[in-house]
């Protein structure tokens, strides 16, 4: 060791020499190695084997605790037993290496087989519980062979390895002399070694099966390491006990290797479990946040929110539910879905219910019964949701009383508008309508005066007078019908639904407008298909639509010579119901025909632009369709399709 001074070190530092090549470092390294040498003289065998025992016992203790906390984790118990067995093996080996007499060695070797049995059996158990694979008969064969050899071990003269240990030989091992036996090998030892081979086979089998199953990492780690350590252990035992090489028994070393690998595997599982627990906690936190949010959303929904089981049991509801319906929570908890509806609505509700449970979703409008017995119209929705694998119905209910009232008001206003427009169009027709009334009145008057004259003549022609009276009656009826129709058209009245014949509507309108058509010089052609199905609707508005279309057609032809003013009204069966078409030979449609049906759209100088808009509203409320198309030659045709009633005529 060269002399070293501070000044030299300073000189080196000034010269820029790196610290690891400096003399100062070399001195410190030599000092460290010196301490290690002193430590080594404490006997390597004792140190290592004692460390094995303590490490294995600690691991065993830890995993016993783990198992005590989680009794279903039998792999941990098996691991604890394996570690304990290994510790026992190591303790026995250490004692054997320090044995002074053959008798002492014989006894120690005999007891050595108890921890070996524990280790083998617990290893089989560990593989079984950890890999969840391997043939059971191999496992039982291993345990059986090992147990039998343990029995023989205690029943035979010395132990299963030797019939008799004659003497002990002191050989150097890890720098110190240890005892190895000399004696007659026991042939039963083969059974013990067979059990180890069976163990090897079981481990390989189980690992392959686990590997095939897709658990590559544990199969490789546990299976591979077990195979290697067991194989080496067997090889060493054979070599030692059959005296091929003179070294002491160090089986516990290999088992310690096994314990370490499996300890690693188990602790990585513990780590994974910890990780999962952390994630679980996070998720739970998220869940509780979500739950709080959901509760808030539930209660802030401006309506009912409900969750029912498939058989109608009320499971969840929001605060609004009680607030709106007037029921208390305890009352609602006893209620079923059917309790909320009137008996006449139950069929509709049940139909929707089964639709939801079949996987569909519903939106229906039904009155919901409040606690005070009142009925409030609600828009109810429902979808199927699975909770604990059980189908449930979840949905919301929105109070639509206000909307219903608005709808009713809108309907009333529409009817009022239609009525006003009807009155307006009738006042336009007033001249023609007066004629329509005058005609029968004139006929009655003339007939009556003719009869007066006939009565003053001789001979009295009674047959002729009777004919005259019959004509007077029929003409009077005709006048009455005109007045009746006019009154119906002028009356506002509630909208009603009745079965109607399209052809009747056309004929009534034509009867009212006959004079007007003549006055305008329009020739009317009727092509009415026979046997059309009935439609369901309100007679007056539908007649208004036809009047409007006829009147429009006449207006469109005003500029053409009278001979060309041909208006055709035809009825026919249509895919969607029945169709009435009004065809004119007039000036045709404006550039955007669809716009004609908008309010305030007009091409007439005096037009309000409401006629066709009202027509469309009327037809829409009847579930029908109205449109216009240009004719191939001249003019346009307006079509109206109305759905038929279900009861087919």
């Amino acid at each position: 060791m060269p002399a070293y001074t501070e000044s030299a070190a300073l000189a080196e530092a000034e010269a820029g020499v790196a610290w690891w090549t400096s003399d100062a470092f070399a001195i410190q390294l030599e000092l460290g190695l010196g301490y290690l040498y002193v430590f080594c003289r404490m006997s390597w065998v004792t140190v290592i084997w004692a460390m094995i025992v303590s490490a294995c016992l600690m691991l065993s203790g830890v995993h016993v605790l783990v198992w005590l906390r989680q009794r279903e984790e039998l792999a941990n118990l098996m691991f604890a037993l394996l570690a304990a067995g290994t510790a026992g093996m190591a303790a026995c080996e250490l004692s054997m290496m320090h044995a002074r007499t053959p008798e002492e060695y014989t006894t120690l070797l005999r007891w050595f087989h108890v921890p070996v049995w524990v280790a083998v059996v617990s290893l089989v158990g560990f593989i079984h519980f950890h890999q969840q694979a391997g043939r059971a008969w191999l496992a039982w064969a291993t345990i059986g062979a090992r147990t039998i050899s343990l029995g023989i071990n205690f029943l035979s003269a010395a132990n299963i390895n030797y019939r008799e240990i004659t003497s002990l030989q002191r050989i150097p091992f890890l720098g110190e002399p240890v005892s190895v036996p000399l004696g007659v090998p026991n042939p039963w030892m083969l059974l013990g070694q067979l059990s180890l081979l069976l163990l090897l086979a079981y481990v390989v089998d189980a690992s392959l099966a686990a590997g095939w199953r897709g658990e590559k990492r544990p199969a490789l780690l546990v299976g591979g390491s077990t195979t290697i350590f067991v194989a080496v252990g067997i090889a060493q035992a054979i070599l030692v006990f059959w005296r091929v090489i003179p070294i002491p028994v160090t089986t516990s070393l290999f088992f310690t290797g096994l314990v370490m690998v499996m300890g690693y595997e188990l602790s990585s599982r513990v780590l994974r479990a910890a990780q999962m627990a952390r994630e679980l906690r996070q998720r739970e936190a998220e869940l509780s946040r979500e739950r709080a949010l959901t509760e808030a959303v539930f209660d802030s929904v401006p309506g009912l929110l409900y969750l029912y089981t498939a058989d109608g049991k009320f499971v969840r509801w929001n605060k609004q539910y009680g607030f709106r319906t007037g029921y208390t929570t305890t009352e609602m908890a006893k209620m079923t879905a059917a309790d909320w509806f009137e008996p006449e609505d139950l069929e509709t509700m049940r139909a929707g219910w089964s639709q939801v449970l079949a996987g569909g979703s519903i939106t229906m409008e039904l009155p919901v019964r409040m606690k005070d017995g009142s009925r409030v119209p609600y828009l109810l929705t429902g979808v199927r949701v699975f909770i604990d694998n059980q189908p449930h119905l979840v949905g919301i209910g929105i109070d639509i009383a206000h909307r219903k009232a608005m709808e009713l008001e809108a309907t009333r206003q529409r009817a009022e508008l239609a009525h006003l427009s009807r009155v307006a169009s009738l006042s336009e027709l007033s001249g023609s309508l007066a004629h329509e009334l005058n005609q029968p009145l004139g006929i009655i008057l003339t007939n009556a005066q003719a009869a007066q004259r006939l009565l003053s003549r001789e001979p009295l022609d009674l047959a002729e007078v009777r004919d005259i009276l019959a004509d007077i009656v029929s003409e009077d009826r005709r006048a009455g019908e005109v007045i009746h129709r006019l009154r119906a058209l002028l009356k506002g009245g509630e909208p009603k639904r009745e079965p109607l014949t399209l052809n009747d509507l056309v004929e009534e309108v034509v009867a009212l407008m006959r004079s007007d058509l003549i006055g305008r010089g329009v020739t009317l052609n009727l092509q009415l298909a026979a046997g059309l199905p009935l439609i369901c609707g309100d007679r007056i508005p539908l007649e208004q639509v036809l009047m409007n279309l006829v009147s429009n057609g006449c207006d469109a032809m005003g500029a053409y010579p009278a001979a060309e003013r041909q208006l055709t009204i035809s009825t026919q069966k249509d895919e969607a119901g029945v169709k009435v078409s009004v065809r004119d030979a007039g000036c045709g449609l404006p550039p955007e025909p669809a716009r004609m049906f908008e309010s305030f759209f007009t091409t007439k100088p005096q037009g309000l632009g409401m006629g066709l808009a009202i027509c469309r509203t009327i037809i829409n409320t009847h579930g029908g369709k109205i449109w216009a198309e240009p004719n191939s030659d001249r003019g346009a045709t307006f079509h109206v399709v109305l759905p038929c009633t279900k009861e087919h005529a």
Partner: protein, 206 residues
């Protein structure tokens, strides 16, 4: 007009047609009823009527259009119009075109019969005039071509001397022709001749 007068009825309304027919029959008229203006035009030639009761508004040809057609054809038929919705322009148009009356339905028998009587009187007047015209035509036809030529000069207000020189003959010859014309036509004065020639459509020389 010694036989019953025949009245034509045109109305598209069968009930009205029947009622009017009954009334007029009861009043002792013969009635021919037609359901439309075109039907009347078709049968008009074969079935003569003395006057016409005509509905104004009918599909196809209207009453006023029928009146126009008849006037164009030169048929002098008195017409009483009936209408359900008459207005003043329509009635003015009808009366200007020669209608006897324009009645609004419902019409009383008294009004209708009064109008019909007026129409028949007019019809009679038309017939008298027609008879006179036929007589004149017959007399005109008896004139020789030379006498007709002289007549055209006479109604032009020419003197005998002027006529003789125009026709290249003597004044005496013209005097003889004029005497014969006066005798044949039975009209002694030039003024009467002029009026008759006008009615017969004979044009004076230039």
């Amino acid at each position: 007009m010694n036989i019953l007068p025949t009245i034509g009825l045109v109305d598209d309304e069968p009930g009205m047609l029947k009622a009017l027919q009954r009334l007029l029959n009861a009043e002792g008229f013969r009635v021919r009823a037609f359901g439309s203006a075109s039907e009347f035009l078709q049968r008009f030639a074969s079935e003569t009527v003395d006057c016409l009761v005509l509905d104004v508004s009918m599909p196809g040809l209207t009453g006023l259009e029928l009146q126009e057609q008849l006037n164009r054809a030169g048929a002098r038929l008195p017409i009483v119009f009936l209408t359900g919705q008459g207005d003043i322009p329509m009635s003015v148009r009808a009366i200007k075109a020669g209608a006897v009356n324009f009645l609004t339905k419902p019409v009383t028998d008294a009004d209708l019969l009064a109008a019909l009587r007026a129409a028949l009187a007019e019809a009679r007047r038309f017939q008298d005039e027609n008879r006179e015209l036929a007589e004149l035509r017959k007399q005109l036809d008896s004139l020789t071509p030379r006498e007709l030529e002289v007549l055209r000069h006479v109604i032009a207000g020419k003197l005998n001397k002027q006529i003789a020189s125009a026709l290249g003959t003597g004044e005496q010859n013209i005097k003889v022709h004029r005497m014969r014309i006066t005798a044949k036509m039975g009209l002694p004065s030039v003024a009467e001749l002029v009026r008759a020639a006008e009615r017969l459509g004979i044009k004076p020389v230039e």
